[in-house]
């Protein structure tokens, strides 16, 4: 039964010199890794540095100096002027963001719950189309929505922009909650049904209370997305309710005469401040949200 031919002495593996070698700690390769990462980090931080830097300089320094130099005579004037220019937009963005986060989260949770546990016929197909919709350029649907809202008399108002954010936020919100509920053991749901729970009772008393982690992730993603939105706010919000991003662009790109770069940068920072703050504070949740939404989707 010896299938193996009588062993010739095994051939040595290639060469095999035994060299006393590298100590693992600071090899050239490792130094290279750190060097690359640090240079990349500097490249990524450059715009932030320049933004902050410029916003504290008086215009004179900007005209004369170079964009990397630190301010000699730092001043807060640009910030005051910037706030004056975009504060209206700031409060508009807040007014838009709150309902545009709460409602999509609620609907996303209900959708995710129904899709995960109840699975009515055709729901999965509907969900598939919804997900596909998330990838479609918004220009395909913008005008019909404008037309419908104009005819309903609500175009250019706060409710209009909120409804639009609900529509375009639904795919991601539903995806997040559906994937989250998919990881909840099905037996939990079955036990609740045996206990006599119906659709809404199980949702409100069992599932929703368990959903805090995903609600946090969803809130972070939705607030960031709504706050950073430009195109929907531009079209649907109406002149009274323009969000900060739109106002910012108007201030910077449509003023004639000398451009006040320091004010512009301060205004840009103010506009980016809320999502950046959320990002820096929530860190890991932010990443979790991306992973949950993007990878599974």
């Amino acid at each position: 039964m010896n299938r193996l031919q009588a062993a010739a002495p095994p051939m040595p593996i290639a060469h095999a010199p035994a060299a006393a070698r590298r100590k693992r700690h600071l090899t050239p390769a490792r130094i290279g890794v750190y060097a690359f990462l640090i240079s990349a980090a500097l490249f990524f931080l450059l715009p932030l540095y320049v933004m902050i830097n410029t916003s504290f300089k008086p215009m004179q320094e900007i005209r004369m100096g170079n964009v990397f130099a630190l301010p000699v005579a730092a001043t807060l004037d640009p910030w005051r002027d910037a706030w004056g220019a975009v504060s209206h937009g700031f409060w508009n963005s807040v007014a838009i963001a709150v309902p545009s986060t709460v409602i999509p989260i609620l609907l996303g949770a209900i959708n995710g719950y129904a899709l995960s546990f109840w699975r009515p016929r055709g729901a999965n197909l509907l969900f598939g189309v919804l997900l596909a919709g998330a990838f479609i350029p918004v220009q395909v649907m913008i005008y019909p929505l404008v037309w419908m809202m104009a005819h309903a008399g609500v175009f250019g108002s706060l409710p209009a922009i909120v409804v639009v954010h609900v529509i375009f936020g639904m795919p991601l919100m539903t995806l997040l909650f559906r994937n989250y509920y998919a990881s909840v053991p099905h037996e939990l749901f079955q036990a609740a049904r045996i206990d006599g729970g119906g659709f809404w009772r199980i949702f409100l008393q069992v599932m929703l209370p368990m959903s805090l982690p995903i609600v946090v992730v969803a809130a972070i993603m939705q607030v960031t997305g709504v706050w950073n939105d430009y195109i929907l706010g531009l079209v649907f919000a109406g002149r009274e309710n323009l969000p900060m991003t739109v106002q910012l662009n108007n201030v910077i790109n449509t003023t004639t005469g000398t451009r006040l770069y320091n004010v512009n940068m301060a205004a840009t920072i103010l506009t980016a401040a809320v999502p950046l703050a959320i990002y820096f504070i929530s860190g890991r949740w932010f990443v979790r949200g991306i992973a949950a939404g993007a990878v599974k989707g």
Binding site: N2, L4, P10, M11, I13, A14, H15, A16, A19, R24
Partner: protein, 348 residues
């Protein structure tokens, strides 16, 4: 086949000294098993022999050459991992030939070795398949094949059977033993399963806390354990331990239990250890006990006895009926017991 010589090996990770001053000599053609519970350092030791973990001190010699700082691929070793670690996007044939190709082995030689190893391990029909299309046992064979094509001096195995179900494990265990008999290569094998160690090893190294507790053949380690840890680790059900003392006449006594041993050299407090198979239920036996539990195992019974407060296990080879709370008499085979110092745990 190469020998392996470990000299005063020290491995430290962070502030933990995982292995300290370890000496070990492995002869060519041995099947050496590193046996011990989780965290005893056996895997760390194996990885350091492979060159995957750096040494903090000491030296490793493989095949007579100092390999303490050599790259894993230059040590003349092959390794089989616990999770198989097959390259998932490559076929079986590519998995097995990848290392050889990297080393610049000529194509004809690569083909020859792959074909030969595939035949040996019954993989010839599976060469084009990807790992995802194979069963657990087949994947394990591919992992072994990938190591064997290197035609190395030493083969290292890191708990290769622990991801398999019990039946498959027993089957592959036998195949591994036959492989060793066929190839005669030096093999170093890590496991926490003492049954695997007993059946496969030519010598077993029992480890605990980063230190070697005992080195010996399976028979040595089983019959004459060097300390209490080794005694308790091998054998299932484990050895019975009875705290007591040896008197001037060399007899052991622990309360109601007495056993003449003729061990006048071991006077004082001792722990007596006796394997379950060396306790005999015997109507003429010197000791009394009451049955607390009977576990029928098919070809034998494990009987748990309460003897003056001591819980002892005993293996009964016939099918005699024994009921709970039944009073029985039993004896202990004095020639097969071990004595340990209660303080140090060492064999007396």
């Amino acid at each position: 086949m190469s020998n392996v010589h470990l000299r005063k090996l020290c491995i430290t990770r962070g502030n933990n000294e995982i292995i300290r001053d370890l000496d070990l000599q492995i002869d060519p053609g041995e099947f050496l098993v590193l046996l011990g519970p989780s965290g005893c350092g056996k895997s760390t030791l194996l990885h350091s022999i492979a060159g995957l973990i750096d040494l903090s001190g000491g030296a490793i010699e493989i095949g007579g050459r100092d390999m303490s700082h050599a790259d894993p691929s230059e040590r003349g070793i092959g390794m089989v991992f616990q999770s198989y670690a097959l390259y998932p996007t490559m076929s079986v044939e590519q998995n097995m030939s990848f290392g050889l190709k990297i080393a610049g082995t000529p194509k004809a030689e690569v083909q020859r070795r792959v074909r030969r190893t595939a035949e040996m391990l019954q993989l010839d029909a599976l060469l084009e398949r990807k790992p995802a299309q194979l069963s657990g046992g087949q994947r394990q064979r591919v992992a072994i094949g990938r190591a064997l094509v290197r035609e190395a001096g030493v083969y290292l195995f890191d708990e290769p059977l622990s991801n398999l179900d019990a039946k498959l494990r027993a089957e592959l265990r036998r195949e591994l033993k036959m492989l060793h008999q066929t190839l005669g290569s030096t093999m170093i094998y890590v496991t926490h399963d003492q049954a695997e160690a007993m059946t496969l090893a030519t010598r077993i190294v029992v480890m605990q806390g980063g230190r070697i507790q005992q080195i010996g053949t399976p028979a040595d380690v089983y019959d004459t354990p060097a300390n209490r840890f080794v005694a308790g680790f091998l054998g299932s059900p484990s050895m019975n331990f009875i705290e007591g003392s040896v008197d001037a006449q060399g007899s052991f006594g622990a309360g109601a239990i007495t056993l003449p041993l003729g061990r006048a050299d071991a006077v004082g407090a001792v722990t007596l250890a006796a394997r379950p198979e060396h306790l005999h239920v015997d109507d003429n036996g010197p000791l009394d006990a009451r049955v607390t539990l009977v576990e029928p195992m098919g070809n034998h019974q494990v009987v748990w006895l309460d003897c003056a407060g001591q819980q002892l296990s005993c293996i009964v080879h016939d099918a005699r009926p024994l009921a709970t709370s039944q009073a029985v008499r039993f004896g202990i085979d004095a020639g097969r017991v071990s004595l340990f110092d209660p303080a140090s745990g060492k064999r007396v």
